[in-house]
Symmetry: C2
DNA sequence: TTGTAAGCGTTATCAA
DNA sequence: TTGATAACGCTTACAA
């Protein structure tokens, strides 16, 4: 009772393994009659392709690796899920690697993925620049970077939400709503996207002739207890602060709680806007305004572009910007 | 500049491929001198194992498949992440399959996973019972079910939070806090775990001599708009309702919003408890009491048990219950 | 302790 | 239109 192989199919349908292979892959020529016969036997026996053998032979694994910092973060999970969906539709399976922002682990994963012969790689976010280590020039694996600056842009495709635009618009919105002292709240562990958001914030301030200085950015660290203390200190030093653009929704919500505890009224005294538009934004008090990323488009672009890159390895060097949308809710109301 | 193989290593270090293989896998005998020599060459050349070849030969893939309904759900993502971590530490990589609760997709995934020769499977949640279709008796793949009743418990290991206990305790808590008419809010698409929670709710009512009838369960459907209407109808019919145990946090939060809109005061008029204790519980208004699942323990148990099962395929039939903890917050305060 | 060689399930080349 | 066969990179008897 062992697994049935092409050889068995060949024997049962009275043709050679070569023919069976041709039928399965629909390449080369064979008669309609043969095709029917073979497919029938395949159906009956419940034959399933041994992908290891196929991969070994063809050097194509139909497997894609995804490097992601933290799959329990909604934004990442959502993107990954959608990428996985698209890839599966096209016959690829996906190995998801949760790096936990650990560089060593990332290297280990890369090694294994290479050993498994992945056809391509999608790298999502991260603090440092990403470059694939092609030492000794093995098979070059095409890769796509999402929200993570590649070291050498000519080697890959860079896909990113337009973080700059999002932060810029959100900041202008705060100003328009009357915030005289808007700040940007960001984690000290800074990702590529966070840096870009900061730039957007800064430029929006400039455009409206606000000064950007140490009173304009609130740097935070985990855990929440530390964040609370840092926030309190900041507000003691800069009590005039009346608008916050947070680098993501989690930070925004944490700040909401902290500000409540400090007896600030949101949005009356301080207006808050987050980033990512995760589902939680609807359930906070008050509901949180946020910059929505188009995860569907990001995922779709990434998946399709990678597949394209696999076919045409040298068409790299592009940077694709995905527009974002500011969603206004109670936390930034007038 | 092609990929280096055992053959190259053998040539470069002046031994046979067999010896190289022995050194790599540290099995069989070889002299210390040989070992050093071979490892040096491996190091220098940056050799990486071709896993397809290894898998083909040994029929072991060091790959585990995880079937999960929805990776953007925090509870699932958290469990998956932790399983993945443990498995990677032990040299396994993980193919995560997001089934989207689609039975056809689940079957397709199963086929591919089988073709890729996964050594084991972890199946998380889902509406119907799970049984692996071993038609034609291929290689039997050991699998673990988390939160999803296996069709035949003797074939697998069933791991689950103690949903019954959680629901029972939460219900008792509601009663203890003075709720005279507690209800259970659940989605119409009912999972194994939801059914068990309902049972716990029911038994707690019985214990305290409350009657369980159609006024005790609020059945809901997505999307939120529909949920709102269903809730309003329910409260028109049963206005005495003053306590809610929701089948998960998302439902609980949705209800919180709906009840606010209906001008109910939480927790004064209605007390609410959720399930899962996702991070959002801290940011809702009021903060949500919830039954916390021990994801770390679930994940760890699942991973280790599966690895054990791979070594000892016939030690199946266990059911492992993981205790849960009721976390009390504002939404159920007196 | 080490080497030789068979074989895992495919695909692809070459002949028929 | 088909078939025989080599090759992919690795492990593992069996020999030496």
């Amino acid at each position: 009772m062992k697994k049935v192989s092409v050889k068995d199919i060949a024997a049962l349908s009275g043709v050679s393994v070569a023919t069976v292979s041709r039928v399965i892959n629909n390449n080369g020529r064979f008669s309609e009659e043969t095709r029917k016969k073979v497919l029938k036997v395949i159906e009956e026996t419940g034959y399933e392709m041994n992908y290891s053998a196929k991969t070994l032979r063809t050097n194509k694994s139909y497997t894609i690796g995804i490097l992601v910092p933290d799959i329990s973060n909604y934004f990442f999970a959502d993107v990954v899920q959608k990428i996985e969906f698209t890839l599966f539709e096209k016959g690829y399976s996906t190995i998801i690697c949760n790096t936990g922002r650990d560089e060593k682990k990332e290297m280990d994963y890369l090694k294994v993925l290479q050993g498994k012969g992945v056809d391509g790689l999608i790298v999502i976010s991260g603090a440092e620049e990403f470059s694939f280590d092609y030492t000794e020039a093995k098979k070059e694996i095409p890769y796509i970077c999402i929200d993570r600056e590649p070291k050498d842009k000519s080697q890959t495709t860079f896909i990113s939400s337009n973080h700059y635009q999002g932060a810029f618009e959100a900041t202008e919105q705060l100003i328009k709503l009357g915030c005289t002292h808007p700040i940007f709240a960001v984690l000290n562990r800074k990702s590529t996207s966070a840096k870009t958001r900061l730039a957007g914030f800064k430029d929006a301030l400039n455009k409206h002739s606000f000064t950007f200085n140490e009173a304009s950015v609130l740097y935070l660290d985990n855990p929440p207890a530390k964040m609370k203390q840092q926030t309190q200190t900041f507000f003691t030093n800069y009590p005039e602060t009346n608008g916050i653009l947070a680098t993501n929704d989690t930070i925004a919500l944490e700040l909401l709680n902290i500000l409540h505890a400090m007896n600030y009224k949101i949005p009356e005294q301080i207006k808050v806007i987050g980033f990512d538009d995760s589902p939680i934004t609807n359930y906070s008090s008050p509901p949180l305004s946020s910059v929505q990323q188009d995860t569907a488009k990001i995922a779709d672009t990434a998946a399709n572009h990678l597949l394209h890159l696999i076919q045409h390895p040298n068409e790299t060097g592009q940077t694709l910007m995905i527009p974002v949308h500011l969603i206004l809710r109670q936390s930034s109301a007038v």
